[in-house]
Symmetry: C4
Subunit: 275 residues, 4 copies
Amino acid sequence: MPIGTELPHASRRRFVIGVSLAVLAALGGARSAAPQPAAPAPPASVIDDLVAANRILANEGVVDGYGHVSVRHPGAANRFLMSRSMAPALVTAADIMEYDLDSTPVDPRGRTSFLERFIHGEIYKAQPGVMAVVHNHSPSVIPFGATMVPLRPMYHMSAFLGGGVPVFDIKTAAGSPTNMLIATPALGHALAQTLGTRPVALMRGHGAVVVAPTLPLAVFRSVYTEVNARLQAQALGLGGPVTYLDADEARMAEATISSTINRPWELWKAKALGR
Amino acid sequence: MPIGTELPHASRRRFVIGVSLAVLAALGGARSAAPQPAAPAPPASVIDDLVAANRILANEGVVDGYGHVSVRHPGAANRFLMSRSMAPALVTAADIMEYDLDSTPVDPRGRTSFLERFIHGEIYKAQPGVMAVVHNHSPSVIPFGATMVPLRPMYHMSAFLGGGVPVFDIKTAAGSPTNMLIATPALGHALAQTLGTRPVALMRGHGAVVVAPTLPLAVFRSVYTEVNARLQAQALGLGGPVTYLDADEARMAEATISSTINRPWELWKAKALGR
Amino acid sequence: MPIGTELPHASRRRFVIGVSLAVLAALGGARSAAPQPAAPAPPASVIDDLVAANRILANEGVVDGYGHVSVRHPGAANRFLMSRSMAPALVTAADIMEYDLDSTPVDPRGRTSFLERFIHGEIYKAQPGVMAVVHNHSPSVIPFGATMVPLRPMYHMSAFLGGGVPVFDIKTAAGSPTNMLIATPALGHALAQTLGTRPVALMRGHGAVVVAPTLPLAVFRSVYTEVNARLQAQALGLGGPVTYLDADEARMAEATISSTINRPWELWKAKALGR
Amino acid sequence: MPIGTELPHASRRRFVIGVSLAVLAALGGARSAAPQPAAPAPPASVIDDLVAANRILANEGVVDGYGHVSVRHPGAANRFLMSRSMAPALVTAADIMEYDLDSTPVDPRGRTSFLERFIHGEIYKAQPGVMAVVHNHSPSVIPFGATMVPLRPMYHMSAFLGGGVPVFDIKTAAGSPTNMLIATPALGHALAQTLGTRPVALMRGHGAVVVAPTLPLAVFRSVYTEVNARLQAQALGLGGPVTYLDADEARMAEATISSTINRPWELWKAKALGR
């Protein structure tokens, strides 16, 4: 809902907290009033995969100096893990931080957080089945968010787009022009509402958000949304009607392909981590 | 022919076997009822070239984490060689497996097979002169498979497209929506029928299949189909009529160029294998 | 103003000097009549950053064998630093030279200067707040300078384009055809007038000039002008109306994003300098 | 002139020799009847630059596994130097061969020659000022050779296109369909006539030929013809009128830029030769 309209009581409290956090965030590190206990340390493999995801998304051209990826803490559903604010290509294990679902860092130790961490926290709140979130400025996708052309699945690899790709317009959500950033819980909540239960939403004049029940699948979906956008633009450029996967094809292909994603995941890790 | 319609006796038996194999395949490894004797081990050079072909196709951007290439066994026309299900860029000699023409692995030793191995087996059955098969999601080609624009030879390097490039639509072949995969012998047979004696067929909403009487030529055709698609899209984008090779030019150029392919093959091997 | 028309006194003197300098420049090294005292040596970090900027612009595809970047001397507002005439990708600290704002090298020691150094000197004269200038043949940008389509901000990363991107036409400025180069102070002055207080101007049939109050921001703006041009061309190719950032969104986003540029700067340095 | 029409006496003799050479070429090595004395060995720097040119053209994407570049022998105007038939990226000094202007190798020692060497020999005959020739399948250029859209200079770097870029159609020259290759002196002569005194000609359904008075300039022109084609296609895609360099601008810019080409030449050598 647009910021500034009359809110019901519970939402108003969240709104006030959100604004306070935004103010504190502007000072370099967001902390809630009381210190928070950290969740049990996640397995090293979870941290390793999150570092790999950062490097893969950069190496595959989905993110550049900007963008971020998180995972819900496997041992604490009310926590998520994400790097401090830095370029994904440079992320290491020491850069991974823990957040609560208000997107407050638990133990920042002076490390700064992404202004748009609320994209992650609010989606984890809204969708209990989501275990990983990617926010990117995926280049081929951005033109679709700025035009009236809907992204649709060109082939079986992007069948997950079959349920539709909504476009979130932050000016509509906020009720007035903004700096285009999901820098408050209220805006993150609005984006989560637009996304609903779908895997991808575009953000007009900004980029996209991609979610999944596992981290490799979130990375897979980010890569193949970018590929699909490029192929769809080429198909539209050839002129004439374009045939997309129909709803049944998309549903059936998505089910089958999602069981094969370890194949590209292993390749992408090898390429991005230089092994 | 579409799955499910009334089939003549011999085809019905193949259909039943095909369905059984598909069920077994879903469990992780397809085996026929009786153990099969392996063909004599192929020369090491054949395995080396098949590994190189995998790496080349990945390095030249024709395949990504998905896609596969096979060769008919040089010493046993009823066998073919292909890697286990993995990304082509990572294939090594130890990953190469032997299959019969029903696409059943002869000695899998726990290695999983590609769901779409039937593309290879059925084409080897249908076309005795074909000695190598490539299945890819060649990016610039996919838009042509999704539109009404036929791929045609832009220049002498892709003259082999001169006989026409059919588009296989799996929904038509199956008679109903599918998961887009050639995951049964019947669908592989249908694709082989569409391909006929041509070197390339597109697969709507999926990618392409490319065949040749030698492995280097199959790789060459895969690369130059991708290049041709890119150039043709650019030519169409300039506006106005596009001049393609005429039928005689295509025939004459293909004959001449096919005798020169060792030149790019040596270059591609050097690039892909880091020598 | 076009070369050759009647000029007021002060401008006429600058015009004569400019022509003399152009003549001397053609002989391989431009010197003013009297030797100039060098400014105090700038900090090594300034030189290091200027070398890095050269390498980054080349590595990010904004410049090729041609193009140049300068910084105003931090200790002397009437001096600027730029490499000798060479490809940016090969620049080292020893190649950095000092210039006065007439674009005369202070201590060339036989090193040749860019023919178009007047782009830099004249902008530093006209805009006291500008501390860095980039001249490039940014590929995706050049088509916009040759057509009637205005570059506009596609997303928050290129919000700095929100104030408009003027196109400088050298034939109009000179009053007759030229060799397309800003090879005199008068032409540099004309370009500076077209640029005004904006961050970017296109140069018809040539490339672009990008300015900023810091060197990392000038590099950032160069990279994201190139990206924006590419995305805008793709959006226009999809057909239908394109939504750009509105004036408020651009202003607000630019303010926020400009405080984050150290994030890509660190990444770009790591990539370009191989660390 | 088309092959097969009545020819005057001198041309008929050349035609017969040409056909004989073509037949011999098909057997793997073309030799004239009598052994030819080799010209004095060229300076090592000439061979080094020719090797570098091969590697640069490949590294800059102008040639792939196919394409070739030659220089006229600096000490013998009736000889030229070119590699044996191999991918340019793999050329070394030992691969460079000497040819007479009938494109007959002087001392082949078993090394095979390019089928299209006649492009080089015939242009060296027709244009005494040409000292280097490049034949390529420059990708962005090929669509222009297949459509009615003339290549024109988008910016100062490709000003050398200002005199027009003719399109050679081999079917017209031969009078009937061919295999698209300039595989005889007569066809090479026809191509040289189409090229005239210009720096570039396109070859419909094939690629381009680029010439210059020096080898670095021939390489420069090859690279910037490719870049220009890419930029022009993008400009046309934006819609509306495109402004090219006018005839005076092209002439003036070409004169100035041609004196700067050592700058990219040094960069390209460093990149292609790994130094």
